[in-house]
């Protein structure tokens, strides 16, 4: 607690110093919004810290000042001279109390009531008198604040020292003198220890930020009559000390907001069918070149309508706000001076301070995102850049060069085994890895970076890299080492390829790049969706299966097709198969059936045709031979690109490609073969002959059967006529014109696009 108090004092002092100028400026121009915001942030922060540190006097003062400033921000009160004076008197008093706390002396609290009353305009605030206390010399503190520059210089000096030591060690080893080596050893130890300490001056476990949370959550919740269970994850993530300091306030605000506004009172939670205890999860992790801090509660989420109503009350256009996309609506909570809470509480006040939170986060180059589920909870994600950090990394070799890979992103490192449990297979030209029944996309690091030829045989080592939504196997030449590395940001030109997270200088003195696991997946064109991420289901549970016909395809690959779409398998003579009018077609029983094939028919004596049907139309699929009917698991790894193959399933340790029946039908059934009932397009008028000659293919492609006269009992779905023809039929009429005309309800007869559009519109209406 003492540490926290010391920090609070140091911080308040510092802010007060910086604020002096703002106060003077505000006094000169009370309408200056930026100054007002700065002062508001100050009292808001003081209030937040006081509640936690149990400083009731400061809390009362800052709360009162915050109330008034918020009213000014909301336009309810005008910042007249009396109000400005009163606020300044309070700010001064806060400074005096802080000095008194630091020196452990008592400060008379008389007059504070008057100061607060003055805020309401009930009493005249006396201009603050410089008190005797603040004139007294400050007591020495046990913590000092250092400039970051100084720390940086210390760090780089330390690194220089390590490199010099390495160089010296190399040279002394050549001399081979045991006495010298012993003293070098001693030096090495000291240097290593020293480096550790120096590093720690800059880096800190995020635990330093999280350790205060349990008490804060408990006190906050208790003050509101709520009960909240806090769970903390990733407390050992290391973060720049500077970042930790900057994150302290935003994190506190968000958590207090979650408990105050998000998590409901126990009775309401019961009503909503939730457990009485709210739950709050705070987690930290490193991802690529960012540290991600997530605060998730299971409260009521953000009531967007209420937010809009509030903003509308301050004069914003409500319908304009309502038209915003969902995410932008959520972001409205970052508007200055907004609250969705009806009554003001001592905990998070009314401003919610979300605008302050965002300002603080953005100040350190971070980003804040909200994801709210009405009634389910709110997740706030803060991303801060990894300015400098020490991470535990694995060093891998590719194409003769070493690269560092954050250990956190690595699931495991495996070698290819001869027993087939870990192996590489090819899907078409794409290599995939199978690691104990788990199929993973394979990325060859050397080839991706252009350091090695893509086809140089299968790799021996795979690093399984976890990324959001899944994992992939990274093929590397070697796994070289395992080291703690100081990562620094790299120049923009180095970051531009998107596969690096930073650079580092290991003890070898040779610069090294830190790979970004997610960036590599991106660069390799991998796409992960949540479904793919599904781990292989529990082995005990019966996996859902699907009966399928397995066959040997023309290109020699074993594939399968769901049995349900197979009508029959029949032999065919290759001479009945022709490439006509843009696709393969099979003549059978006097009809023409569209034919799909993967591979070539050339040089084959006979082929088998899978006759596939969707109930209405049928297509053929040429294969070499049918093999077996088997129950294949439904779980399928989707193909990279849509095509005749939907994906791949595992069956008895083999990879079987599954045909995409939907794709095949969508590709080949444009106009189903004759005989199927289709809407009739009646060609009427004097130009019927021209239409029959010229337009029939277009009409048939649009799904119509073309007729020049109706048989008894038939009705036309569409009548096509020229603009000056008289039409008696009562079907919808599409009129064509001989000349292009602007804005007419006719279509110029050679306007192919317009005609196709009109036909599609009518066809959709006819079905």
């Amino acid at each position: 607690m003492d540490d926290l108090l010391q920090e609070f004092i140091a911080e308040t002092r510092e802010t007060m110093e910086a604020l002096t100028g703002e106060i003077v400026a505000w006094e000169a121009d009370p309408s200056d919004r930026a100054r007002l915001d700065a002062i508001f942030r100050f009292v808001h922060t003081v209030k937040g810290s006081c509640g936690f540190l149990d400083l009731p006097r400061l809390a009362r003062l800052s709360h009162a000042a915050e109330d008034v400033l918020s009213a000014v921000r909301g336009g309810e009160r005008a910042p007249d001279a009396a109000l400005v004076n009163a606020v300044l008197a309070i700010v001064d008093r806060i400074g005096e109390i802080v000095e008194a706390i630091d020196q452990g002396t008592a400060l008379d609290d008389s007059g504070e009531e008057l100061l607060i009353a003055a805020l309401d305009g009930k009493a005249e605030a006396e201009p603050a008198q410089p008190s005797a206390v603040s004139m007294a010399p400050r007591a020495p503190t046990r913590s000092v604040r250092l400039s970051v520059d100084l720390l940086d210089r210390m760090m780089s000096g330390m690194s220089d020292m390590v490199l010099a030591r390495n160089e010296l060690a190399r040279r002394l080893r050549e001399a081979d003198d045991p006495a010298v080596e012993a003293s070098l050893e001693r030096l090495s130890l000291t240097v290593a220890e020293m480096r550790d300490t120096v590093t720690r001056t800059r880096m800190q476990k995020i635990d330093a930020l999280f350790s205060a949370l349990p008490r804060m959550v408990r006190d906050t919740a208790a003050g509101l009559g709520k009960s909240v269970a806090l769970s903390i994850e990733g407390a050992d993530v290391e973060l720049d000390r500077e970042m930790i300091e900057m994150m302290r306030d935003p994190l506190g605000h968000i958590i207090r907001n979650s408990i105050d506004h998000g998590i409901e009172a126990p009775a309401d939670r019961r009503k909503a069918g939730k457990s009485e205890n709210g739950s709050l999860t705070v987690s930290a992790r490193q991802s690529g070149n960012q540290i991600i801090i997530e605060i998730a509660d299971d409260g009521r989420g953000i009531d967007v309508d209420k937010v809009i109503a509030r903003l509308a009350a301050t004069g914003r256009n409500a319908s304009e706000l309502r038209a915003l996309p969902e995410k932008a609506k959520l972001d409205l909570v970052f508007e200055p001076g907004l609250t969705t809470k009806d009554e003001v509480t001592g905990v998070s006040g009314r401003g919610v301070g979300m605008d302050v939170v965002r300002a603080n986060v953005e100040q350190i180059g971070g980003r804040i995102d909200l994801s709210s589920q009405r009634g389910q909870g709110l997740t706030t994600t803060i991303r801060v850049p990894l300015t400098l950090s020490i991470i535990s990394a694995i060093i891998v070799g590719a194409g003769g060069q070493g690269f560092a890979l954050p250990r956190q992103s690595i699931e495991e490192i495996v070698g290819i085994r001869d027993d087939g449990s870990i192996r590489i297979d090819r899907l078409g030209a794409t290599a995939i890895a199978t690691v104990r029944e788990r199929r993973l996309p394979l990325v060859d690091l050397g080839a991706l970076l252009g350091l090695a030829a893509p086809d140089r045989g299968d790799p021996r080592m795979l690093v399984i890299v976890g990324v959001p939504g899944g994992a992939y196997a990274l093929a590397v030449d070697d796994v070289l080492d395992n080291e703690e590395l100081v990562i620094k940001p790299a120049a923009p030109a180095v970051m531009a390829p998107g596969v690096y997270a930073g650079q580092t200088l290991p003890d070898s003195g040779r610069p090294m790049l830190l790979l970004d696991g997610a960036g590599i997946a991106n660069a390799a064109g991998l796409v992960f969706t949540r479904e793919v991420a599904a781990e292989p289901a529990n082995e005990d549970e019966a996996e859902p299966v699907m009966p399928a016909l397995m066959f040997l395809d023309l290109d020699g690959v074993r594939r399968a097709v769901p049995l349900a779409v197979v009508d029959r398998v029949e032999p065919a003579d290759p001479h009945d198969i022709h490439f006509t009018a843009g696709e393969l077609r099979l003549s059978v029983d006097g009809r023409i059936v569209p034919l799909a094939a993967q591979g070539t028919l050339d040089g084959r004596e006979g082929v088998s045709i899978l006759r596939l049907t969707d109930g209405a139309s049928d297509i053929g699929y040429a294969i070499a031979e049918a093999l077996d009917i088997a129950d294949l698991p439904c779980a399928m790894t989707p193909a990279r690109e849509p095509g005749p193959v939907a994906g791949v399933v595992a069956w008895r340790g083999e990879q079987i490609e599954m045909l995409d029946a939907h794709w095949l039908f969508a590709e080949h059934v444009r106009v189903a073969s004759d005989g199927v009932a289709r809407p009739i397009c009646l060609l009427a008028g004097r130009e019927a002959g021209w239409m029959a000659t010229f337009l029939r293919p277009a009409l048939e492609r649009a799904g119509y059967r073309v007729a020049t006269a109706l048989k008894p009992g038939e009705t036309a779905a569409l009548t096509l006529a020229m603009d000056d023809d008289a039409v008696t039929d009562n079907a919808p009429v599409l009129r064509l014109s001989r000349e292009p005309r602007e804005g007419a309800d006719t279509i110029f007869r050679y306007d192919r696009a317009g005609l196709a559009q009109a036909l599609a519109r009518h066809a959709a209406g006819a079905r």
Binding site: L163, A493, V494, L505, P511
Partner: protein
């Protein structure tokens, strides 16, 4: 008004670099390549405890990478340090920067980096802007 200029040689031609852009002049050691990066990035090199991004001036000028140069001018831009390779370093002299005027048009490879002329012993020398050689920067204000 004369400013200090560092006279160097790039691609066989003398150039002048404003000394306020130059942090130091060094011989760099081994360069570790950065795969997939811009061709102008030769790689990374260690300069004591600092990692610098090495800029290949021949690639900037659209020439094929020459023999391994090791002399470099160190410049700090937007918080990052860059080592700009040069063929040779000659001298630091005070010169007055004159604009490129009088109808002189540089050829396309040199045009982006040239920023003026200085007189050196009666001979004109092209003054260059190191910043213009570095890829990936925000457009200069």
């Amino acid at each position: 008004m004369a400013d200090l200029f560092l006279i160097a040689e790039i691609a066989g031609r003398p150039v002048a670099i404003a000394s306020d852009q130059v942090e130091s002049v060094v011989d760099i050691g081994e360069v570790v390549p950065v795969p997939r990066a811009d061709a102008r990035v030769r790689g990374l090199a260690a300069l004591r405890s600092r990692v610098v991004t090495v800029i290949d001036t021949r690639a900037v000028l659209g020439l094929n990478g020459g023999d391994m140069q090791s002399r470099a001018v160190i410049t700090a831009i937007e918080g990052h340090h860059y080592a700009v390779l040069v063929d040779a370093l000659e001298d630091v002299t005070p010169c007055a920067l004159q604009p490129l005027a009088g109808g002189i048009v540089l050829d396309p490879a040199w045009r982006p980096i040239g920023c003026g002329i200085v007189e050196l012993g009666g001979e004109p020398v092209l003054a260059i802007d190191l910043r213009a050689m570095i890829p990936g920067l925000a457009v200069a204000a």
